[in-house]
């Protein structure tokens, strides 16, 4: 649980558009985020940032053959154990954590050991929660290999698993000691996952950065074509926003809830469909449009802004309609157990405009009903 700042001369050159570096400012729990093409081959950086001598790399069946050999090489003469999870959100469960812990115990990882998450959001959430629970908390590092993980889930220390009764209901706040985002890993990312990741990128524009939203409108095609410079910029700008919000409110007592824009609706879709047919980013994309629509029904935002949001989500290729799969009843039941319930009333992140989001439990019930009616059957 120690901080490992990047030493002078070990980081990236300033002004290199493909290599970015920032810090999440959390006092003694501060840690660096490195964003760069080819990071997995940088044994020099990895040696500095991950000094532990014994490492458990948690990954999954899809990512392991693609990137574990590279990471293993860069870990040099460390003792390395690989833990390969099945792929998919459906496996993000407490029994899944139990199996990871069994491997850590069987390999006698000590308190000075390190858990590395190599993969997307599911791998990061599970590896982080296992590290949080093992011996009451050991170090872990994030090596995210999906766009969604690089811009969102690998940063900020939220870890955990789903419960049949709700998304991420079981977990811990446990900050990584470093985040290493190798943008080259996005080369092998399926199109559908790239689009899902872009939903979270768009989220940062909607929360508080209208100029970034406008930049995304101009660069949507470049991002979909995986232009390296556009991707590096989008990831950097997203991480900047996320790091600033997390630094202000690590434990989600206030502002951090803004990062849940679209998530109450999105979690309802995921829970009601058993975490199987919608990707998390897809559900958040549809959820953000629902939040915009609720904002419009509540008289907070004009129709033109809602249309602008919808247009960008559609250009990115995100699904926006859950009517075929989710009833209003199922969605409401799932939302009621969501963590955003306070004193019995659902809290939402609503918008007064693009880049002007805020947290509230104050909205007309009929505006919520009208929103649910438009998106669920």
């Amino acid at each position: 649980m120690s901080a490992h700042p990047v030493r002078a001369g070990q980081g990236f050159a300033v002004g290199d558009p493909l290599h970015q570096q920032l810090t999440v400012q959390l006092g003694e729990r501060s840690y660096p985020i490195l964003i760069g093409a080819g990071l997995l081959d940088r044994a020099d950086l990895i040696d500095t940032l991950l000094p532990a001598r014994k490492v458990a790399v948690v990954t999954n069946t899809v990512v392991s053959p693609l990137y574990f050999p590279q990471l293993r090489r860069s870990l040099g003469d460390r003792e390395v154990v690989e833990v390969v999870l099945p792929d998919g959100e459906v496996h993000k469960t407490l029994p899944g954590i139990s199996r990871v812990l069994d491997v850590l115990v069987a390999n006698r990882l000590g308190r000075d050991g390190l858990v590395v998450a190599l993969g997307g959001g599911v791998v990061g959430d599970m590896a982080g929660f296992a590290a949080a629970c093992y011996q009451r908390g050991i170090d872990f590092a994030q090596v995210p290999t999906t766009l969604l993980a690089q811009v969102d889930s690998s940063v900020g220390g939220k870890t955990g698993v789903n419960h049949p009764g709700g998304k991420n209901l079981i977990g811990a706040f446990h900050q990584p000691i470093a985040v290493l985002a190798d943008t080259r890993t996005l080369d092998t990312l399926p199109d559908r996952e790239l689009r899902a990741g872009l939903a979270e990128v768009i989220k940062y524009g909607l929360i508080g950065d209208e100029p970034f939203f406008a930049w995304l409108e101009q660069h949507a095609e470049a991002l979909l074509a995986r232009d390296p410079e556009a991707l590096a910029h989008a990831i950097r700008r997203s991480c900047d926003t996320k790091a600033a919000i997390v630094a202000r409110d690590e434990f989600e007592q206030g502002d951090r809830a803004l990062l849940n824009l679209g998530h109450t609706f999105g979690h309802a879709i995921e829970t009601a469909t058993g975490y199987s047919s919608w990707l998390h980013g897809e559900a958040v994309g549809a959820g953000m449009l629902m939040a915009a629509t609720l904002s419009q029904h509540a008289g907070l935002m004009d129709a033109a802004s809602v249309q602008r949001i919808k247009a960008l989500l559609l250009r990115v290729g995100l699904p926006l309609d859950a009517r075929a799969e989710v009833t209003r009843e199922a969605a409401v039941a799932a939302m009621r157990i969501d963590k955003k319930v306070k004193a019995g009333k659902l809290r939402f992140i609503l918008m007064r405009g693009i880049g002007r989001s805020f947290v509230t439990s104050d909205y007309p019930e009929d505006a919520l009903d009208a929103t649910l009616a438009g998106f669920f059957s």
Copy 2:
């Protein structure tokens, strides 16, 4: 995760030997410890200290019929769910936590809900860990009903469960918002558990309080006879030491390890016997004598002090010989996965004398071998 100091006029009169009050000083996570006869009936205090409107009381099959009705009455018009665990350390497992979490989800406990642990160390560790994991951490309070829990496990925020590979290998640091120790609950405590609790009381004398050790030598019979004033004094003095150490070192980076006196040996006994035949306090009692013996073999402490420790443990009626059940090989295997291993070398709490304990990895291997040979087969 908020602090709830006792309001003026709501606490106990100063100088009342049967009612004691202190605070664990942890900044915004500070909390009160109340020690008193009849606390479970003090609806006024419970109302102030546990303001949540929805409460899950975690208890077990033995404690529930004895004390749940009383606590339930004092919780007044709150919405209360009871979670009844099977009795015993053997049930302190991750699947056990999963069942507690299922109940919290099924009853839709919110982030503003409260988990109350009503019982001994196992109940406290499990309820606390469930509260730490549920929605990434909600409030919990300790209502310990065994001597061991009142003097040790309910204070300090260590929560967790055992793994087949080792004791307390899975868990979290999660401080309670209050500790309410009703000394009347000790009236129904089996003799064997009272003796096991006294082992942890003796520990505080050995760590850093020789005068308290001498007081215990003078009052052993009064404590075994459950003299209320002697018990209240022993609990208060134990909590004073524990609270001070926890305040200095919440996350066990240094001094807090002193509280593990006897625990590396003790955990080995518990692990090697499957957490079934030795109570935790009994194992710690034998473990403290092993630590003293190792200190003697290492030339740190004289034989007379070791004999004084052994004499008090025997007067209290604690078992001190694991030869019938544990081999040296099994003990060593269990100790190697214990959390106290650092850089491959076992750390122990050793003594330069009674009340003069310290943490070290520096001891002759043959002194350890000789100690193990004397206590294991």
